[in-house]
Symmetry: C2
Subunit: 329 residues, 2 copies
């Protein structure tokens, strides 16, 4: 191992949790870390939330670990996703031991399209009264996502017992765009012999809280994936432990789903779990599956009986939890 990893703590608790995840990566491997800045603080200093050096560091690295950004989140994260040419955002949502969850049965992995939909972002002010946004859907991006979803399921990377995936969309209203998405995804799965079922995104929002067991892997357009995975976060107890991976052909960007948590930033008590679990996804992305699993097991061990940060009812610091995770590796 000597891959280069770009490290961008960002703002708020990103500054506190990312160093823990770096220590974890350092404990299991021999990586070269390249530190870079992005977010509100660097914007206040330099006028730009995403300096060119940061983008270049991300483009040069094999993988990037990102913490969080404040007001400038979209200005940072969207260009970084494209800097790693990410076509899928992987968002596992499951309950962890010892975390109060409304629906502990939830165990779902969202595979979110990561390049288009409303995020393609062509917007215009056509008059004083009217603005438009052009939502873009291509068969090629939809097919690429579907290929990934099929491989994901075939490789057994879904929750235990996963046999296929659910595709969500709103093709009854967005007939051409989401219709194209649905048709492309379903036809790739059919070609590969992977089972699919379909659910309208509104029905999915009703049903996930009621029947979380019905879902394993869920393939979504970009904004649907954003909203529905965040809904799942609410069912498993919040964002504190949810990791995510922005995966491209060559590079990846790994980030906790949570934000900067301004209410607790600077106190040294943020839960590093989501970021450490994102580092586990980074390890797997680089091919170190066993190390990824070791990190995951260590986090779960600490959650089950180690020290806990205040969000989980304990009084440990970020550092104490980090040390406990590393001790278990």
């Amino acid at each position: 191992m000597s891959e280069e990893i770009a490290v961008i703590p960002g703002d708020g608790i990103g500054q506190e949790v990312v160093p823990v995840a770096v220590d974890v990566l350092d404990a299991v491997g021999d990586f070269e870390f390249v530190h870079a800045d992005a977010g509100d603080a660097v914007k206040a200093e330099t006028g730009t939330a995403l300096p060119a050096e940061t983008r270049e560091a991300v483009e040069a690295a094999d993988a990037t670990l990102f913490g969080a950004a404040g007001e400038t989140a979209a200005d940072v994260i969207l260009p970084l996703r494209s800097a790693v040419e990410s076509f899928v955002n992987i968002r596992p949502a499951r309950a962890y031991p010892g975390v109060d969850a409304l629906r502990p049965e939830t165990d779902v992995v969202f595979l979110r399209e990561n390049t288009e939909g409303v995020y393609a972002g062509h917007e215009d002010d056509l008059s004083d009264d009217l603005s438009t946004l052009t939502r873009v859907v291509t068969s090629s991006a939809s097919r690429r996502l579907a290929e990934f979803a099929c491989e994901f399921v075939e490789a057994g990377r879904g929750p235990d017992g996963t046999e296929g995936f659910t595709v969500t969309h709103k093709a009854n209203v967005m007939r051409k765009t989401d219709g194209r998405f649905r048709d492309a995804v379903v036809s790739v799965a059919d070609e590969r012999g992977v089972e699919t079922d379909e659910e309208l995104m509104d029905a999915f929002a009703t049903r996930l809280p009621l029947y979380p067991d019905d879902y394993d892997v869920v393939v979504c357009p970009n904004l649907a994936g954003d909203v529905l995975s965040d809904l799942a976060a609410g069912l498993v107890g919040g964002l504190g432990l949810l990791p995510s991976a922005n995966v491209g052909e060559e590079r990846g960007l790994f980030e906790p789903v949570h934000g900067t948590a301004p209410d607790i930033a600077g106190q040294g008590v943020a839960n590093p779990g989501a970021t450490v679990l994102s580092a586990a996804m980074l390890l797997e992305f680089l091919g170190y599956d066993e190390d990824g699993q070791r990190v995951r097991d260590a986090v779960e061990g600490v959650l089950a009986d180690g020290p806990r940060t205040p969000d989980l009812g304990g009084d440990a610091t970020t550092e104490q939890v980090g040390d406990a995770i590393i001790d278990r590796l």
Copy 2:
């Protein structure tokens, strides 16, 4: 009272629950009912899901009561919303006595923009690979919705204790369109002295299951309102009891949030609650607030100790529940 009410049972359980709601309306007032067809069955017969006579009946009526449509739902409901020139879809989501709910504290009214967003529906296939949809947001529609929201809150029509409203959007990504929506809504509220807070729609999806008490009235763009109100439905036990009102300046269209329920259609055991509660919203729309409240009280009384349909654990028929509601009026 001698207003004209168009009645469109539609498909599936719509055929069973709408007659109950008509009986209820007939019991409290003296309306002229005009029956009309729409949905899958009429499409199979005539080739069109929404015959011109039906649209005309809706345009001529003071209010319309609609049941449900199957595959053709979008072909029926979207043109009907525009036939009554509805600019807001009112969707109260709350738990009812005796209904198993994940989050019984939920008591939220969604005010959904009902004319634009992705529903404005300009879609194109630009190549074999690419389709676009033009999402449309105007300040005028957003302001009209906001005026309505302010009046709604000022008139005490929100849940008890409502002091303002939450506006949800995704203006960090859809900067011009949802930015315009947010700015228009907030500025109307500011002019009128109504309090607002803002929540990104993804954060709202995480937080509603966790902190349902934090929300009373929620003002949303069209698709956000669709998905987030359906999420709330999941938290209060499902769609069985949720009514909705599509309100325009002159006319309104009232419909249960649930669909045709093909699994139980034809058995005479569908829960008429959502449709009867939609009829209560119809009464209020026509100015018969007391009658609307009587109907609501009757439904709640039956839910608390009257006969129940199988979805609520009972073995009563639709007709028995309908009779029990009418007996209580």
